[in-house]
Amino acid sequence: MTLSLKDVYIVDGRRSPHAKAGADLKDVAAPYLGAYLVRKILDATSIPNDEVDEVIFGNTGSPAKYPNVGRVIALEAGLHKKTSGYTVHRNCASGMEAISQAYMKIAAGRCDVIVAGGVESMSQMPLIYSKEMTDLFVNVMKARSFSDKVKALSAFRPPFLSPIIAIEQGLTDPFCGLNMGLTAELLAREFGISREEQDEFANKSHHKAVTAEAEGKFADEIVPLAYGNKLEKLLHKDVGPRGNSTVEGLAKMKPYFERKSGTVTVGNSCPITDGGSALLFCSEEAVKKYNLNPIARMIDFHFHGLEPERMGMGPLLAMDGLVKRTGVAIQDCDLVEINEAFAAQLLGVQRGLGNKEIASRFDVDTVHGEIPEEKLNVNGGAIALGHPVGSTGSRLVVTLMHELKRRKADKGIASLCIGGGQGGACLIENLIK
């Protein structure tokens, strides 16, 4: 017996403006990057606040104050207290994991209305006491007498105070020990991706994003967000894309990860960023009941693992799996959004798509063909817009659905590489043609 899956509709999708970590959105805690989007999306429908079955959000920073960001978002968005909410973590693809779960729950007929998305405040990722310092605190607390306390305290050494930077540790693979930047360096070396090629790509990302913003293309997807200590200003657009970016300027930057002989710089990588995104998923029954006008239909998704040190090639395997699952060829899609974690990594994926030998190194037996420039990341990508880790997986789909709608096009894929050695991809179909 095969499980018959129901159609899954994406009624709407919105995102916050992105701002580089430490900039305009630094004081906005993770839940507030998403809750207002949920309110905004549901306000535009006739769905009452007690008819949402599930709220699912991706988040990787797991702020100590909000261990379950998804549930907090449900409440802060003014949804009924009975609304179930939870948080998912699949590193860079946490937002995509959230929408995949929404898809499964609606496809399986368990839910009719789900809000899913992702949020990340990379500004607010903490500094952590070292293990030595933590042990010292524990020993002092355990000590009963004054002399025991003094004894415990005497173990203190100044280096104990040097903190662990959570964000740095989080971006280092625990299995192979490589920093994410070094995994990009590895791909650049193995596939001969030059510095010039990477800078050229990064430069285009900035100019595409700036043009898209100027043409008002982000107006449908960005919801202005109140920020600042007194919450009295509205941020309307992304803080990151640079209109004055040049290849020459990028060429002047020093390699950041492999400082002596590397090619990956801060300029041709994505900046750490604050942002959030949210999408409303509905079953066909809910679409009819609430008289909704969905923008897209989600066809399927696929996740795939590979060596952690080559995690950047994840999209190749994920998209290959997605094609096999759905029978829709990449070349038949009108648009493809692949996250630009590193220019080198994205160019590596392109090599893998076009080159049988490279593809076979990753056990991919199909040559899908490189994605033409006019279909790939047409409004710029994370190098310009930034990569709020927990949100990007769903942000890509938000951007993709609005661009498909604008073009009255048919199908599109959103895909991304995942720290730890995975790739994720999902396929959607535009319904407003």
């Binding site: 207002y36 109140a226 919450l231 509205l234 309307h236």
Partner: protein, 707 residues
Amino acid sequence: MSYERIKFEIENKVAYVGFGYNCDKSMTVLDEQTLTELRDIVEECHQKKKELDGVVFHSLKKNCFLAGADINLIASLKTENEGAHGAEQGQNIFNRIEDLPVPTVVCIDGVCLGGGMELSLSCNTIVCSDNPKTSMGLPEVKLGLIPGFGGTYRMPRRVGLPTALDLILTGKGLDSRKAKKVGLVDEVYPKENLVKMAPKHFGGSKKKQGFKDTIEHLASDNFLSRKIIFQKARENVLKQTKGFYQAPLKILDVMEAGMMKGRSSYLASEAQAFGELCVGEQSKNLQHLFFLMESSKKYNGPQSEGELPVLKRGAALGAGTMGGGIAWLMAESDMAPLMKDIGPEALDLGLKQSSSNFMGKVVRKKMTYDEFERKQRSITPQLDYSGFNKVDLVIEAVVENMDIKKSVFAETEKHVPETCLLTSNTSSLSVEDMSTALEKPSRFAGLHFFNPVHRMPLVEIITHSKIAPETIEALYNWCLKVKKTPVVVGDGPGFLVNRILMPYLNEAGYLLIEGVPMKELDEACLNFGMPMGPCRLLDEIGIDVAVKVAKIIHAGLGDRAESSDLSQQMVDKGFLGKKSGKGFYIYDEKGKPTGPNEEALAILGSARKKMSETDIQMRVFLPMINEASYILDDGIVKKPSDVDLGLIFGIGFPPFRGGLLRYADGEGLERIYKAIEKFASEVSANRYAPSPFLKKLVDDKKKFYDL
């Protein structure tokens, strides 16, 4: 013995005295019967002292321990002696509680004010619940009274002199957390455990005195520092009340003179002071105001037949200072408002207004930053109508222009549900006319807030010919819910408050032209008790705005409302008031007046006229009384109390005068009418054209409050 108002039981050698027994009102008060029963119960406890481990006072009523002495009882007191005697009776009962040889514990859950607080103070131990409704205080001063049941004697002994003075002189309430902090209560429990825990305090709960307490005690408990504390308190009172209020000064006299007295002679002086104050005109006026406020808490407008619309979600149209203030009010009361305007700059302005209102509370620690963030973020600033399909109440605050407002309403009506109420915060335009823009005018009303929204309690609900009673009642209840004071008024130029304010501001212009110095004019009004003189008020409103409103009122009411051209000349010279930095006065960057604007006064020329303070006051206040008579005659409001509430809460007419019409009643309407006639012949036949309605009252020998 059996009791009707108090539940008295003895269980496991503990006597439980429960107030709020057989009480169907929401608040329990110490009325005559309750006091009599309490006296008997206390005596019974004295008799049974051998069988008792202790006495526990508690309440059977939800959210109310005791709301104080019955104010009707106080209002019925006729003479000083009667008042003093009444206070002594209460004092005697509380003395007997204090003198019980067994331990006494009072359990406070909910409101505990005035007499209830004084009863609690006579117990050995006070414990209270952490119920957010729990509040303790001695608010007598707000009624122009001194706490008369021993509160001024026992409070300083429990919390120390400085805290006691603060509580008694301001009448403010403390929540459980603060009450514990100042030492008023010994322990705080969850309300379900409160009475259960009371007997555990029979052993006494003398708290350990911290080092800080000891220092504080040493610092405040000696002759010299007490003298300084009283002097400081007196200065503060004079500064806060400008010397208008008698009660706080009387309280200080009693407390200071009584510092060295024993209980009985102290209490005698407290009772005597209570007697003097309670029959004084000022206290009677404040009691009158209390009754006005109480009666305004219940809707008594046109009867509704259908179901009332539920107003859960709000929207503010227009995000300026007023729109931002309205969005703030809605966010504050959990209505997650939409705030729509036509440009992003306006949205920033609205957010800023709301944020600054909230921030005031955060700074005063009335709100945590997290609460602020949640509420401020519940406002959705937007440029389109998305989400209006879920809105129950729209308050419009766009520019004061009839055509624009009409088109805004016609457009908005297309986006909101059938049940949504649509209201306009217009201050001067005809609500009747505006209602024609709507397909369904029955759900439309004027809802006039006063600026700034977070400070001014009054809201005028303005009706028109097609309004549904359900609309009025739902708006009335909503105003109460968001802690505003609503007054239902008919449509007409300037509605209620601005129409009566008109002669106040108009006459100021004429007086200046006649040569009365601005300083003397403003001071005469301040000395009457107004929060601002007319010139200062004009600056605050904006002189251009005042000119615009004056024109509308003039057009509507005719020559009676004619204004001098002084304001127009000011506007022509760019003196718009506080907002332009220059009006009648000059303002610094923070908006503080620094002195008169000599350039503006130069317009007036060099004529100087000496006029007595009383004459100035009569020139401005008599035409207000006259206009109020016209308003009653026109049926803009139904009752004189509406006029009084409107002026006290809308423009800060001095509360101790009980309101404009109560003041008029007190002065004698015949005298007032004659004075108006005199001004009509000597000053202006138009502006002082006496109201026939007032004439009829005089002829019938009636007062306003006889209506």
